[in-house]
């Protein structure tokens, strides 16, 4: 009898462990924990080791070891020819990096945050994204633009914007948003190996968070496919689609909802462009309800695109209107209470999910 109780407790605790639970079960060794920071650093290290054409460029990526320490140790290992500290001139160094990619080498450009990428956005869109098309395939642009995106903590309006929707609206770009360490490793490696320009949106607040990683994930050949979302939690009552930090919030919301008898399916988008429309639609056809979650400004956002896709492809399957949870439609305020109101919280996701189930939200 005690054995059954212990079994039930084990099952409960296993359910609480975030991603890669199923992967854990198939490998007998104890799960290693890895922070996002280490995941990104190891991915950069391995790809630079595997391909001498890969090099890093950005502010403080070299001697400072990276503004957020993502590039720590890489200058020592690969030297100043492959890890380049740039002046604070985004338009200039982004243009230089794109031109280098035209020639065939493979830059990984760091923006200290994506807010500063706006100074270089002409090169990302007009020089990088569109060139393969305009040249009819003559000139491909194997470049990665990476860095923290979205809100941090208390950094105010000019340092908190999420750029996923802006970049993902542009044909010719690939836009990725990892959540876990597995995502960080697999997607960054895929991005570096990909011959097209990739915008790689990290999250500053996730850098220090640890996630379990299997031996497969730790292998230097590990790679995740671009354009495929991941079902982080299987469910049958409502689909919650999110990316980056909001995936963690969605999983917490799912736990809360479970207590109320609502079984949520949580999708980690991983890829904003190409968007995995078929997986999201397949999920909604199963659950009949959708909640999208993003930290970004709501208007013309990723959630809007997902909702449109569902309405276009799976209208007959919906049992409730689609719901969007997003950042508040205001520039990010500084005061802690206002800041809290400006980004989605777990209770917002729970409330929206309950609305789709026509449950009382009070």
């Amino acid at each position: 009898m005690l054995g059954i109780v212990r079994q039930k407790m084990l099952e409960q605790s296993l359910k609480k462990i975030p991603p890669a639970v199923s992967v854990l079960r198939s490998y007998s060794s104890a799960a290693k924990q890895m922070t996002i920071r280490d995941a990104l650093n190891s991915a950069l290290d391995e790809e630079m080791s595997a391909d001498s054409k890969v090099f890093l460029m950005g502010e403080e990526v070299g001697e400072y070891q990276g503004a957020y320490k993502i590039t720590k140790g890489l200058l020592d290992k690969y030297g100043p020819e492959r890890v380049l500290d740039t002046p604070i001139t985004e338009a200039g160094f982004t243009g230089v990096a794109v031109g280098a990619a035209y020639y065939g080498v493979k830059p990984v450009v760091e923006f200290m945050t994506f807010n500063f990428s706006m100074q270089a956005i002409d090169h990302i869109i007009n020089s990088a994204a569109k060139t393969n098309y305009m040249s009819s395939g003559q000139i491909s642009v194997p470049i990665v633009f990476r860095g923290p995106n979205g809100a941090a903590a208390g950094v105010g309006a000019q340092h908190s914007q999420c750029y996923a929707a802006w970049y993902a609206s542009c044909p010719g770009l690939k836009v990725l948003a990892p959540y876990s360490s597995e995502d960080a490793r697999g997607l960054l490696k895929a991005a570096i190996r990909d011959p097209d320009p990739v915008v790689f949106l990290e999250n500053e607040l996730l850098y220090g968070e640890s996630f379990p990683v299997s031996d497969e994930v730790l292998d230097s050949s590990f790679c995740l496919p671009i354009g495929k979302a991941k079902i982080e939690r299987k469910g049958k009552d409502v689909t919650i689609a999110a990316y980056s930090k909001m995936v963690g919030y969605a999983l917490k919301a799912a736990e809360t909802l479970e207590k109320d008898g609502i079984d949520a399916e949580v999708i980690n988008l991983r890829s904003i462009r190409p968007l995995d429309r078929s997986m999201i639609n397949a999920s909604v056809r199963k659950t009949s309800r959708l909640v999208t979650v993003e930290e970004a400004f709501p208007q013309h956002g990723v959630g809007a695109e997902i909702c449109a896709s569902i309405v276009e492809e799976s209208f007959a399957y919906l049992d409730a209107p689609v719901e969007r949870i997003a950042g508040a439609d205001v520039p990010m305020p500084y005061a802690a209470n206002l800041e809290r109101m400006a980004v989605p919280q777990v209770e917002d996701i729970v409330r929206a999910a309950k609305r789709t189930c026509y449950r009382s939200v009070s």
Partner: protein
């Protein structure tokens, strides 16, 4: 004035004496196009420099090179004028920025470098593309949006590319090509290719901030980048003195050396580019300011006469035309007769007309081409037409 000095000096030079016996027999003219006996010519004006030595005014050339210059520039001239007619006949749409008057820059530069060196320019790119080895058919077909175009009809006038000759376009955003060009130079250095990049821009683009950002990086990292300002004195309708506090563009690099060059003199351009290549490989970036002129307006939508006088335009045509300069040089050195040069021009007209006829017959791209080359690696994702329930495609 400079030319008459040239004529008198050539008649007393040894090389002209060597040529004299050849001139008399018409049947012996055939070898002229392959004659590489050195001839020395003085540039129209001396070079002016900033933070560096000037190259010599005496340029080494030969009959073969001069005839090639003549032919190439006359071809470019004829091509651009034909494009003007095609635009007015509505066979070319959108933007069309013509280069006639500036041919010496494209031709002189090409003579000083190899196809391992890279060139990148802005939207006035038709002649630079031809100098890099592009064909007339590729030009006219691209301008008319046909399959045989260099970008298979998907780029248009401003987006010509020829990667196998290290010609990287063809850019519509003013100034963007300069950091891109410095990036090409970076990649050449990174790959240890011992070659340089020429990044061309106009006097209008010379005030762009990103240019100075790229120059700063190039100088810090010793990149083999040569920034070439094609100063035709007007940024669209704005004269240089209205746009630049300092129109001495060759000095604007501050810590980077610069050279001012007569851009209507193909030999001066060649000399300057040779000098610049040697400099850039050893010492990093250098600026070349080519003093040149465009006969057409900024584009086909601009008559080009509201902000400058017709007298100015005809004056330049009479005094400084690059094709005429080479013609006079060839004639004064007795390298060919007037009739032979006219015959070359007739041949060129025919070549251009034939290419246009061929381009007109060439089909527009297949509808499926709407969805090709969005990505180099399409991943099997779907893309949509205007009505996504009607037109969808899997990206190759």
């Amino acid at each position: 004035m400079a030319l008459s000095r040239l004529a008198s000096s050539s008649s007393s030079s040894r090389s002209a004496d060597l040529l004299k016996p050849l001139c008399s027999a018409i049947s012996l003219r055939r070898p002229i196009s392959t004659d590489t006996t050195p001839i020395t010519v003085e540039t129209s004006v001396p070079f002016t420099s900033h933070q560096c030595d000037t190259p010599s005014r005496s340029v080494q050339t030969n009959a073969k090179e001069l005839l090639t210059f003549f032919r190439d520039m006359a071809l470019m001239r004829r091509m651009e004028i034909a494009a003007d007619s095609l635009y007015k006949a509505k066979l070319i749409r959108g933007f069309c920025h013509l280069y006639d008057g500036q041919e010496a820059v494209a031709v002189g530069m090409e003579a000083s470098i190899t196809k391992k060196d890279c060139i990148i320019t802005a939207y006035r790119d038709h002649c630079t593309f031809v100098a890099r080895g592009g064909t007339l058919l590729e030009v006219f077909a691209e301008l008319m949006g046909r399959q045989a175009g260099c970008s298979r009809g998907k780029g248009g006038s401003m987006h010509f590319y020829k990667k196998d000759s290290n010609f990287y376009g063809g850019h519509g955003i003013v100034g963007a090509q300069v950091p891109l060009g410095c990036g090409l130079a970076f990649a050449q250095k990174y790959s240890k290719d011992e070659a340089v990049t020429f990044a061309l821009y106009g006097d209008g683009a010379a005030n762009q901030g990103q240019l100075f950002e790229a120059l700063n990086i190039s100088a810090l990292w010793d990149l083999p980048a040569i920034l070439v300002c094609e100063n035709n004195h007007y940024g669209m309708g704005t004269a240089e003195w209205r746009a630049a506090k300092s129109p001495a563009y060759y000095k604007r690099g501050d810590y980077a050396p610069g050279l001012k060059v007569d851009g209507m003199d193909a030999l001066a351009v060649k000399q300057a580019c040779t000098f610049a290549k040697e400099h850039a490989l050893k010492n990093g970036p250098i600026i070349l300011e080519m003093d040149t002129y465009r006969y057409h307006g900024h584009s086909m939508s601009d008559p080009g006469s509201t902000y400058r006088t017709r007298d100015e335009i005809t004056g330049v045509r009479q005094e400084r035309d690059p094709v005429e300069r080479i013609r006079k040089l060839i004639l004064s050195h007795d390298l060919a007769t007037e009739k032979e040069l006219k015959d070359i021009e007739k041949e060129i007209r025919k070549e251009v007309d034939d290419a246009i006829a061929q381009a007109k017959e060439n089909p527009l791209p297949e509808s499926s081409e709407l969805f090709t080359n969005v990505y180099a690696k399409g991943l099997g994702v779907e893309s949509f037409g205007a009505d996504r329930k009607e037109v969808r495609a899997v990206l190759p």
